[in-house]
């Protein structure tokens, strides 16, 4: 499933206009993204939680050429599925 199918499914289930549904799904995703960009945790009961991990930069090597490369510090989000989601998927 992709985002537009998610929008359609919500519109059908809640008898919404697709424009309305698009707004809601987009704002839902934005709320999570904005929180993570701020460095906040996100915890959605029954679904899972997200948290940002900070990686410091380091000087690595390209294994093929042996060249030194500087790897910049980065932030990556991690998702931990909730208990309910795990059980649901395996049920």
């Amino acid at each position: 499933m992709n985002k537009s199918e998610l929008i359609k499914a919500l519109a059908e289930k809640k008898k919404l206009h697709v424009d309305d549904s698009t707004k809601i799904v987009s704002a839902f995703v934005d709320s999570i993204k904005e929180a993570l960009v701020r460095g906040d945790r996100v915890e959605i009961r029954g679904f899972g939680s997200f948290k940002i991990k900070d990686y410091s930069g380091y000087t690595g090597r390209n294994p093929k050429t042996g060249d030194m490369v500087k790897v910049k510090p980065k932030k990556l989000p991690f998702f931990r599925p909730g208990k309910e989601l795990k059980e649901f998927i395996n049920g």
Partner: protein
């Protein structure tokens, strides 16, 4: 790092500011979105949210494990696990 946590209540507040719906309606819609997302991960094994990332369910084989407290050997059953892969767009938003 601010140390705040966004929960369902916070998502509902956010949507309340952005739409003309009331809180009860929004709460229901958030629950419905999560329900659809769960179904999609289960039935399609993948849910792609453009600009954010992809939730994927994949199969893990059964493997032998050990209870570290009792040292008992147990067989962990095959199961499905869910992983999140972030999109390039979101990755660059996190690392401007």
């Amino acid at each position: 790092m601010s140390g705040q946590t966004l929960t369902k209540a916070g998502i509902v507040d956010y949507l309340y500011e952005k739409t003309d719906k009331n809180r009860a309606e929004i709460k229901e819609m958030v629950e419905t979105i999560l329900e659809i997302m769960k179904q999609a991960v289960k039935n399609d094994h993948a849910l792609l949210v453009s600009g954010f990332g992809k939730f994927e369910a994949y199969d893990k084989k059964a493997r032998k494990g050990r209870n570290p407290q009792t040292n008992e050997t147990i067989t962990l059953p095959p199961r499905k696990v869910v992983v999140f892969r972030l999109s390039r767009k979101f990755r660059s938003e996190l690392n401007p």
